[in-house]
């Protein structure tokens, strides 16, 4: 067993834990970040991939909307290479929860906050105008409004926070599961964890931060404290392309608002929001959940069922407990808890992607007070790695390195101005994955520099197998490239590819259409498994 000592151990490598680690490292604390699986592999990655200002909070608390918009604006500025504008069309139909005038009133109020996050005010559209912008909208419209938010890849956001923490002196390790807390009576003195090598390690710390999201209760039990959450499960359906340049909202059968959001080169539709009592490590997408989403869009965007869904995602929101509230009305606000019953342990509970930075700042403030560190928080102004300067036009990067402009543009959404560094080592610029597309050089780089230890990690870091072929063409090639970097034997490469295919299949089975099944059969045949 090895042993190390730190000011702070942060448990949980989702966006909150990564944000706390980044903040503390920038203030000069010595930090160890531990993630049991992969960075952003839990709740963060299963989100709607949006940094939004929270117009729905206008009915409850305008301060939350203001805070949310202010912080969204900070994230947009520090992560400019990875954000994209999401322009919503909010269609209004007869029988909707809010009529057009009520909805426009809310948008007029929201317009006051939009400049905080560099967004434009809303535009009101007649039914004909709305259908001009999106011809797939139903012809039963009464009107529509536009509204802007921002989208980004949460996996990259989490990694960029981890990377910045490391560049500021932190240590971070994924596939490192905390198995116990080191305690002296009630005092928490650090953690024992099993590292990626399978070995047991001990890390002592002056403060231990529990940023484990839906696993917070489990971690609390190790410290002898009760942490009560009201976890809620949410699923999304992933479509193979940007179905439109405009996002679309829809009322579900129970009145909940659902969203269909185009991101870089795919579309997310969701989400559900159901109380969840199971194991957050064992999530399954149910056919009823898929139907619930499709039913809502049948009403406003009827062709959605004809488009190709390529997988579904599922996650558990770590919502703070409250009795007798309808799931969707539960606030996504957060609490930073300094456990009196377990001195040395701080928990960051609740929250949402849009406010991760602020939540991390408040957690770091508390930790710094305990440590006697008075460095200022810089996470709202210091750019994340890749956003230091504007990236060059993709065609220039493409011409310089002999790759397609498409490959260059997609690479820049992940690496920003640091994209050229990928080619420094002289690796091949051939493609591993054509749909995304990903070069051999990028995959090698991520295995070397970004703690990719499995093909699932490469899925999150560079989008391996996230395209329409869902890995059919690239998994084996990727196993060779990553295996080469990590020293896998040929048997380990085969096993890694098989494990990854099985992992992908879990998300694909609930949503495959006949073309998806045809592709699945074709590829199984090509691998000689018919």
């Amino acid at each position: 067993m090895t042993s190390s000592a730190h000011d702070v151990v942060v448990i949980g490598g989702g966006v909150t834990g990564a944000g706390v680690a980044r903040d503390l490292a920038r203030r000069g604390a010595s930090v160890l970040l531990l993630e049991k699986d992969d960075y952003g592999g839990g709740t963060s990655g299963a989100s709607s991939w949006m940094i939004h200002g929270g117009p729905r909070y206008l009915e409850f608390d305008w301060r939350t909307t203001r805070l949310s918009c202010e912080d969204a604006g900070k994230i947009v500025r520090i992560a400019r290479h990875m954000v994209h504008r999401v322009v919503f069309l909010l269609p209004v139909l007869a029988g909707d929860k809010h009529n057009l005038e009520q909805l426009e009133t809310a948008m007029e109020v929201y317009d006051r906050f939009q400049p905080l996050k560099l967004s434009n005010p809303h535009v009101r559209l007649t039914p004909e105008e709305a259908r001009r912008l999106e011809p797939g909208l139903t012809d039963h419209l009464l009107g529509a409004l536009t509204m802007e938010e921002w989208g980004l890849d949460p996996h990259r956001l989490v990694w960029a926070n981890v990377q910045d923490a490391i560049e500021n002196g932190a240590r971070a390790s994924n596939h490192s599961r905390v198995v116990d807390l080191i305690r002296d009576g009630r005092q928490v003195l650090g953690v024992r964890y099993r590292g990626p090598d399978g070995g047991l390690h001990e890390a002592r710390s002056r403060v231990t931060v529990n940023a484990t999201g839906p696993w917070s209760g489990e971690l609390g039990r190790l410290a002898g404290v009760e942490i009560e959450l009201r976890p809620a499960k949410g699923i999304h359906i992933v479509y193979d392309r940007r179905l439109s340049n405009f996002a679309i909202s829809a009322d579900a059968v129970d009145g909940r608002g659902l969203l269909m959001v185009p991101h870089g080169n795919f579309t997310l539709a969701g989400t559900t929001d159901d109380d969840f009592y199971g194991d957050p490590d064992d999530l399954e997408v149910l056919p009823d959940e898929v139907d619930y989403i499709l039913q809502a869009f049948d009403r406003v965007f009827p062709s959605l069922r004809r488009h190709r869904a390529i997988r579904a995602t599922a996650g558990v929101r770590p919502t703070i407990f409250r009795w007798r509230s309808y799931e969707d009305d539960l606030s996504r606000r957060y609490e930073i808890v300094d456990h009196a019953d377990a001195p040395g342990l701080v928990s960051a509970l609740g929250g949402k992607l849009s406010m991760y930075r602020l939540m991390a700042e408040e957690a770091a403030d508390l930790v710094c007070r305990k440590l006697g560190i008075d460095g200022p928080c810089t996470t709202g102004t210091a750019p994340l790695p890749g956003s230091e300067v504007a990236a060059e036009p993709p065609s220039e990067l493409a011409a310089r390195y002999g790759i397609s402009a498409l490959a260059a543009a997609r690479l820049q959404t992940r690496q920003g101005c640091r994209a050229p560094r990928i080619f420094d080592a002289g690796d091949s610029r051939g493609l591993v994955c054509r749909c995304e597309p990903i070069t051999i050089a990028e995959l090698r780089n991520t295995a070397r520099q970004e703690q990719v230890r499995t093909l699932g990690d490469a899925f999150r870091r560079v989008g391996l197998a996230t395209g329409p072929c869902s890995g059919a063409l690239c998994v084996q090639r990727a196993a060779e490239v990553v295996g080469d970097e990590l020293g896998w034997s040929s048997g380990q490469r085969r096993e890694a590819a098989a494990d990854f295919r099985a992992e992908l299949w879990l998300g694909r089975a609930p949503v495959l259409d006949r073309w998806g099944w045809a592709e699945q059969e074709l590829m199984a045949g090509a691998r000689g498994r018919v």
């Binding site: 909070y57 206008l58 009915e59 409850f60 608390d61 305008w62 301060r63 939350t64 504008r85 322009v87 005038e101 009520q102 426009e104 009133t105 007029e108 109020v109 434009n120 535009v123 009101r124 559209l125 007649t126 105008e129 001009r132 912008l133 999106e134 011809p135 536009t146 392309r241 940007r242 179905l243 340049n245 405009f246 185009p262 870089g264 080169n265 062709s303 004809r306 488009h307 703070i320 409250r322 606030s331 606000r333 036009p393 993709p394 065609s395 493409a398 011409a399 397609s404 402009a405 498409l406 543009a409 997609r410 054509r434 749909c435 597309p437 329409p468 072929c469 073309w515 592709e519 074709l522």
Partner: protein
Amino acid sequence: MASSRDRASALRRLATAYARHQLRRWTGRASRDGAARAERIYKPEHYVALTPAERELLPALSRCINCGICALVAGRLGNAYLPDLSSAYLRPLHLLPRLRSDLEGPGQADLEAAAAACPVGVPLPAVAAIVRRLSNE
């Protein structure tokens, strides 16, 4: 967590905003020409609309099962490998104007022949037409 006082205050302010909004509607000071305004705002970021015909075709363009037969029949369109048109290019619609260099080049694929060979009936000439139109926006 929002208190009941916060909630009451939020609802009161929304009610005032609603009254102002209705007044603007009645006095005819509401904005007009929404679609043109939206197009003006979003065109610089290439957030352009699909045409009704393209919208109708789009689901069929997603049928590609990446068998590669079209590439054997017809090769490349410009510098782009033919199966990539549907599987890679016709996905980030807003990026297409920045990817023109990929679509210009020596490749002159016989798209009709490629479509005829496609086992799942992807209408490749239509895919190419949409990619070209959006890349020229």
